[in-house]
Subunit: 412 residues, 2 copies
């Protein structure tokens, strides 16, 4: 039986990444660039005024001033955003200019209108203080953001809204992104029925399936929900064969010590090479992991425990990092959180305890949630993460920092 660390280390470092596909920029939120993108033009493509005000000639910076310390300039034209300049500022003159407009050659500075003496009733008359002028002020020179040919975003970058803006600025309307991994979710068990059905006596609904499907979505994958399959080798074999067509196959149930736990044998019969079965942890002890390789296609296979909290924890600890790697992303970080209360765990395995994580005054803290058993509803509805507690250590006290993970996100 592996430790948690050994199991994490046994997961493939660099599984074959998903291939690239094209995606419209407006659909690209959260997608991951599969190639570097180069700026096809300068940004900006023209020198640009950054404030509403007046474009002045270099001589204004050293012009003689009156007793009020001001110099007077004659406003000869107005430049709106979107217009090409008709003239350039010359000594003693200024051009009224709006934010975003092209600054003509020969503009030394753009002084904001708030810093001038100007009245709309006398639109040709402008008074400014030369001491408040700095060469280049409020002008964004051509290519000041980026020059054509420079790398704009690198491969592996997640497309968040700011980056979407950057690409739109350059007219990049479709982007090459990694295909989203396909994750097949296959519930097993004689006692399990589809969650839309009324269970016969002694049966339960497959609540893990929509949960794991949502977790897969939150990890940037596309879930494929397969019908629940009973504890019968032939039925399992058929469903497994279908599931192996995906990039990742998650089975739930059938991996423990029960007499009708056929999942490991049927996976191996289907050609899945076992990497590990059994981890010294709670919950999640019977976790099974293997890799199926057929021609060019790889399928990463997890046999998750049957109960929802166990499969939830195993997904967050083991499946999510692999889904990140398939998209050339770093796995979510393991943090350190300060416990908000004394908390001890019993038993002989490290415990991944569901918890509520929050930031308080810039410090990450964790409130472990009491659970009666692995199937506790409270833990599954109230928790947003988990902490790692070792029963072999001294009982943990409030304020002590412990390893902690957020659930449900690739980013945290």
């Amino acid at each position: 039986m592996l430790s948690i660390q050994e199991a994490l280390a046994a997961l493939p470092d660099s599984p074959p990444p998903c291939t690239a596909e094209s995606c419209a920029l407006t659909d690209a939120l959260g997608r991951i660039l599969a190639e570097s993108l180069i700026a096809p033009e300068d940004s900006p493509t023209f020198p640009k005024a950054l404030m509403d005000g007046f474009a002045v000639h270099n001589s204004a910076l050293t012009a003689p001033t009156d007793s009020a310390g001001l110099t007077e300039l004659r406003v000869t034209d107005t430049l709106l955003a979107g217009q090409m300049p008709r003239s350039a500022p010359s000594p003693g003159q200024a051009l009224r200019i709006m934010t975003g407009a092209v600054t003509p050659d020969g503009t030394a500075a753009v002084i904001p209108i708030e810093m001038t003496e100007f009245r709309e009733a006398e639109p040709e008359r402008l008074r400014v203080n030369p001491q408040e002028l700095q060469a280049g002020m409020n002008i964004l020179p051509r290519a000041a953001n980026i020059a054509a040919g420079t790398e704009l975003l690198s491969s592996g970058t997640v497309l968040h809204p700011g980056r979407i803006a950057a690409l739109a600025e350059f007219g990049i309307t479709t982007v090459p992104v990694y295909r989203q991994p396909r994750v097949a979710v296959l519930p097993t068990g004689d006692e399990v029925v589809h969650f839309s059905r009324q269970p016969p006596p002694g049966h339960i609904r497959n609540s893990s399936q929509p949960m794991l499907a949502s977790q897969a979505r939150s990890a940037g994958a596309v879930p494929i929900l397969l019908d629940p399959v009973p504890d019968q080798p032939h039925s399992l074999a058929d469903s497994i064969r279908t599931g192996l067509l995906a990039d990742v196959l998650l089975l739930t149930g059938g991996v423990s010590m029960g007499t009708h736990d056929f999942v490991p044998q049927e996976l191996e019969r289907a050609g899945v090479r076992k990497i590990f079965h059994g981890i010294r942890m709670k919950p999640g002890k019977p976790l099974w992991f293997g890799i199926a390789q057929q021609d060019d296609h790889t399928c990463l296979v997890f046999g998750l425990p049957g109960n929802p909290v166990s499969s939830l924890v195993c997904f967050e600890l083991f499946v999510r990092p692999l889904l990140c790697r398939l998209q050339k992303q770093p796995a979510p970080e393991r943090h350190r959180a300060a416990l908000t209360m004394d908390f001890s765990v019993r038993g002989n395995r490290p415990v991944c305890q569901p918890a509520q994580l929050s930031l308080c005054n810039g410090r990450l803290q964790a409130t472990p949630l009491n659970w009666k058993v692995s199937a506790d509803l409270n833990a599954i509805t109230a928790a947003n993460g988990m902490v790692l507690l070792n029963p072999e250590d001294e009982p943990a006290v409030a304020g002590q920092t412990v390893p902690a993970w957020y659930w449900y996100s690739n980013e945290r």
Copy 2:
């Protein structure tokens, strides 16, 4: 001109929330419950074995033992998950039982197989140590998670994967959720063309639009992208009329000090009641906000600055909290982060400085990003949040904590 705090306080506390709609559970990730949901049945509906092992009668706990400290029991039946019990354990006997199976009445404990002496070759013979038995061990009694009629999830709860599991367990396949707010995004400006087009000289692409649309999506809203409109009162009036049909209308551009900034007047002409125009902050000074009320329909209207970093910051600071309130959600928290470097800002307005936020050893830290001007590409691509710095304060030093916000998420 309002301060940031005054402007935040001026936003409606409780705007009319979105109405409720039905959503399939499998599509419900991230949606928000519009009503409380009650458990329609007990959980579990039957007493359940939590481990693979043996169900024993109460007498086993105090049975006489041999010299090895063990007592011998005769295994009379096997209970698989999904089967209804045919018999109950009696003194001197045990039932083999699998995880998830119904524990018959009269079961005092389920002892895991690992804690017994048992060989498959002699399946009727079981030896256990009574001292290791505790009444109730490894049994989840009926209704131990929740009793029928108890509130399962309350109105306003965000549906994350664990909660989806909880609902699926009870066969709840559709859920009442708040309709997603519709956010119309309307770029204005003579110099602006749609981002798919090649801009004529002096023109730019409307990069803010796909950015704000993505931000809206990340806030749980549905973006509606309207065509860019020039700086002409009639055209603006038409587009505004369309935009007011949404729950939120975001205009970009046309709110500053320029001679062709018609947005405020056209909004007021369209019946939008101004709440504020102008905030003492950088970027974002010319931000305009108002509310349009017509019969039963409310539209919250923002006139955002034209340049992308400014509108990005204004969205995160002002629009996102309102979108959260429309869905009865708390706004993302304002955190405190420790600066990773000395950093000072100039000018006379508080600065929302783009920054990289990260958790390091459980502490939130922030690295402000140097930006040359409000339109800096680096700030918009590299930042994942912002910090608030006041030029009137002492220059901030590394280690000092400052107000900080994450971008792009309702949850952080």
